[in-house]
């Protein structure tokens, strides 16, 4: 009886639009079950390695939000050619990369890890654990000149949350030593020491403090210079010790820690030929009405003594910079929140006054900003990683004329130029 009633209901169902639609529910369900096997598994369309042959000239691009490494090929005219997206998956919040002999070394902040990657195949070579709670930020590579082998490379990594620098043997995948530096270290440079067994590591300490007033979150900025001694043990493995350490204050005389934000030195660049070291500080990193785009300072230091030679207010809250040297001059490009600024060093007269915003690059929509996370200059062409706009912007380094824009994966944060020719 019940079965009969059920059938009658089903017959009526077919005759009505609503009923027909409902019965589709089950058909869709069957189709869903059929296709569901693929739906449970991880898609295989990401992280599959290079999809194009290794270009002769390319730019590696690290994506902080997409958690990946991409590459863009450069044509002979320096225009961007093929884009190979998300070739390598890195883990959470990759922040910096550097060339280490035949390898790339990547710092992955969210994983407290250092990755080494075969530069040719872009396959992961090794994952080196730096330890929990460190939040590694930036990396510098240097050859171990004491090694009998010509291919021994070490890297130094700044650890934001532990106020330390880790020195890592990338060949063996081991952390050799960890040295204390100043508060909230970020940028790092490796410079030659007094002899082959020494390396000078210069670290910028941003001194971000969560317990400071949120409008002025940075305390006084500083540099730490570590002179490390490299030797080999009986097995030939490198051994690293601390030769000396000193701290250099960067704030101006009269700086008031209670009412002012510190320099926030986020980038270090060396001009060995000029014997100078540039420290780029973004300041509070805010525009007028909430901060100031007039923040932004370039300090010029003697690269050997670390004496402050000049202090140039450049504005634009720069997070990064790039150098371009020609026969007579050296140009510093700084990338900040509102575009690119330029500072020229004349061999004859030293540093000029800074330009106003050299290239205004605020996003067209006005909704999102253009956080420029990194830039580099190759053959008169300026390449800028637009973190918020997920683009690589290509500009003429002389005229600031935009040449090209290339859509990238989420959150490009670091660029590295590679020329195999």
């Amino acid at each position: 009886m019940n079965e009969t009633r059920f059938r009658r209901g089903a017959t009526r169902l077919r005759g009505r639009p609503l009923g027909s639609m409902m019965s589709l529910t089950f058909l869709i369900g069957l189709a869903g079950v059929q296709s569901s096997c693929d739906l449970f598994s991880v898609p295989d369309d990401v992280g599959g390695g290079r999809s194009i042959a290794e270009p002769t000239r390319e730019i590696f691009i690290l994506h902080s939000l997409a958690e990946s490494l991409s590459t863009v090929a450069l044509n002979a005219d320096d225009a961007v050619g093929a884009v190979d997206r998300d070739v390598l998956l890195t883990g959470a919040v990759p922040n910096d990369l550097v060339r280490v002999g035949p390898l790339l070394a990547l710092v992955v902040s969210g994983e407290n890890a250092l990755l080494t990657v075969n530069e040719g195949s872009l396959r992961l070579s090794r994952t080196i654990d730096l330890g929990t709670g460190r939040n590694p930020m930036r990396i510098a590579a240097f050859a171990d000149a004491t090694s009998s082998s010509s291919a021994r490379w070490l890297v130094a990594v700044t650890n934001l949350l532990t106020d330390t620098v880790s020195v890592v043997d990338v060949d063996r995948g081991s952390v050799l030593a960890e040295f204390g530096v100043g508060p909230s270290p970020q940028a790092i440079l490796a410079l030659p020491g007094a002899d082959q067994s020494q390396i000078r590591l210069v670290v910028s300490n941003t001194n971000f403090r969560a317990d400071r007033p949120s409008e002025i979150p940075y305390g006084p900025g500083s540099l730490t210079e570590l002179v490390i001694e490299i030797a080999s043990d009986d097995s030939g493995s490198p051994v690293v010790g601390l030769g000396s350490s000193r701290t250099i204050a960067l704030e101006e005389p009269g700086y008031d820690d209670d009412s002012e934000s510190g320099l926030n030195p986020g980038e270090l660049l060396a001009l060995p030929a000029a014997g100078e070291l540039l420290v780029i500080g973004s300041g509070v990193n805010l525009l007028p009405g909430g901060g100031g785009s007039d923040d932004g300072t370039v300090l010029v230091l003697d690269v050997h003594t670390l004496e402050i030679l000049d202090r140039v207010s450049i504005g634009g809250s720069p997070a990064t910079g790039a150098l371009r040297a020609d026969a007579t001059d050296t140009t510093l490009y700084t990338a900040g929140v509102d575009g690119i600024r330029r500072l020229v060093r004349r061999d004859a007269s030293g540093w000029d006054s800074p330009s106003d915003t050299y290239a205004t690059l605020i996003a067209e929509s006005g909704i999102t900003g253009s956080l420029f996370a990194d830039c580099l200059v190759v053959d008169g062409v300026l390449y800028v990683a637009d973190f918020a706009g997920d683009r690589l912007r290509v500009l003429d380094a002389d005229t600031a004329a935009p040449l090209q824009e290339v859509s990238l994966s989420d959150g490009p944060v670091a660029l590295l130029w590679d020329d195999e020719s």
Binding site: A10, T25, S36, S41, V42, G47, N135, N285, D390
Partner: protein, 665 residues
Amino acid sequence: MSTTVKVFWDKYRPHIYKRTSIGRIAAWIIGILSLVAAPPLHRATAQEPTETVVITAPAPEETAPPGTTVIPVEEARRTGARTIAEAIASVPGIALQSSGSSYEPVLLRVRGSTSEQVLVLRDGRPITDSYSGIVDLARIPLDRVERIEITRGPVNALYGGGAAGMINIITAVPPGPDSVSSYAPPWSGHGRYSYGSFGEHRAAAGATFTGSALTLGLAAGGILAANSYDYDRAGASRTRENAGGADADLSLTADNHDRSAPVEADATLTLQGSRRGAPGSIEFPTTSAVVDDKRLAITLGAGIRPGPAASLRAEGDLQRLQRRFDDPDYPLGALASETDLRTAGGEMTGTVEGGLLEAGVTLSGRYSVIDDLELGQVDRLTVAVAPRAAVATTTAVGGGWRLEGAGRIEYTDQRVVPSVRATLSWAPMETLRFGLIGATGYRLPTFLELFQPVGAFVVGNPSLDPEKSASIEAETRIAIGAPGAKSEIRAAAYLVGYEDLIQWLAGPDGRWSPRNTGTARVRGLEIEGRFDIPIVLGEWRPRIDGRFELVEAMDTTDGVTNGKQLPYRPRAATGGGIVLAHPFGHSFGLDAEYVGARPVNAQNTDWLAPYLSVDASARARLPVGGVEEWYLFLRVTNLVDEPYVATRYYPNPGREVVAGTEVRW
């Protein structure tokens, strides 16, 4: 990316072996419980026929409207569930994302939503705070809960919140005078204690006095948890630290449940306090961070019935949440925050019924003020008018159709926000029902999103609009067997669109701030069935259930993440279980859930591997004289110790075992 799965398994395989002995112990305990439980059943059942426990799922005619699932809490208790999170974990359309053991917080999603888009109510009153916009369902015990109503799809027109759906926790009401049989005692009560893995003690007790015109209740509960367990990080074993805490709650209720009286009234006072560690993630553990919560809630309700077809009810509530967070050892400087959120709300609903038509209107208002160390003092006023109407017919075969419509116009944050919900239910016969639901909804920005003060990296946006949602759903329910049968199949297909989703983006000043820039489209399919199996196993009755769902939760925002699956939304999940229940109250249960891969970032470059989780439970009712119901229960979560990751960088605690006793009189 089969490689990812393989690596994942290889990495954790030693961990599985290590825990196998615990599995054997659990199996032995279940076996012993079954032996203890079995012998006296037949005799007890014969002698106490009035104590027979109904063990079947609700038939279609007993369930809520289309789009809504009702979970009788007694069924969940049978599987050893202790919290709302555990009770709803296997409901299709619901996804819970844990961040460690069962003591640690879970995020709730309904059909690919965010947690903030889901409204959580207790007896129709919101318990979602407007500070964070979320509720941790792992903290709400099942004690004194009668049922849980889950509605998928926007419910703003009905409740004033819930852009994606709602969870309504309905408190158990003691029998009123009109239903008290002549021999029912005036006092009733319950007590429960359980001890679980990682040093977790949970206890609750309550008593209710039922007088001729008034019911008075007192209940208290508490949790004390060390919650320390081992997990793997980078191939090495570590211990979860600072993840324990203590919780306590107390509630007083007064209610006149004379349904025939022209006036009804109820009042509830709830006090809750907790102090919990905030342990951080695997990569960034925090050993000193602590969260202190204090909550106070007073609710009052009164209703009058001027006539048999008309009613008027007024409700009001006062709530206060005081929260303090401290992390004195945060590496970049000590962190501290203090929040004091006070909310007063009320509503008045008038309803009339006549013939085929039922209509009503609700006027409501809610005022919230927050005093926050960081945000300062800010407030929000919301007023709304919500009319609704329903028309229904019935047919000779027990079917019929019903059309319900509800609307709401809400004024808040200097904006007028409308929402509607329409439901068409058609039952050509008693065992078959179709539903078609269309609804629009919204989510108001939280205080944090609106008023986050200027900081180093972030700032709030007072100009934020509400997130908007629109949904259409078709549902079919079929009861198997005779009218009133207890086996049912439900299938639903849905499409939900979201606009103005709030995303934190880098602004021109270099700070991140929330913007209404996101859009998303979620479509999916849910199929579930619950079947009483007509086979004879002595007096034991088996019931099986199965479920399957597909969810395409697609980011449709302009940009590089367009077309990607939203983070942490599995594209497919399936599961099933069997419960073997005895009329006296004993039961065994086994449930398995297979959850597909989930991306962890917007670009979908990293996915968490699929996993299978198996839960087992056993409950035995003790034939103790003088006590109406006394149970021993055992619940084993993740029986096979699957080392799956629910939230990236948060540990998998492995198998969890809980044993306890519960008594009701």
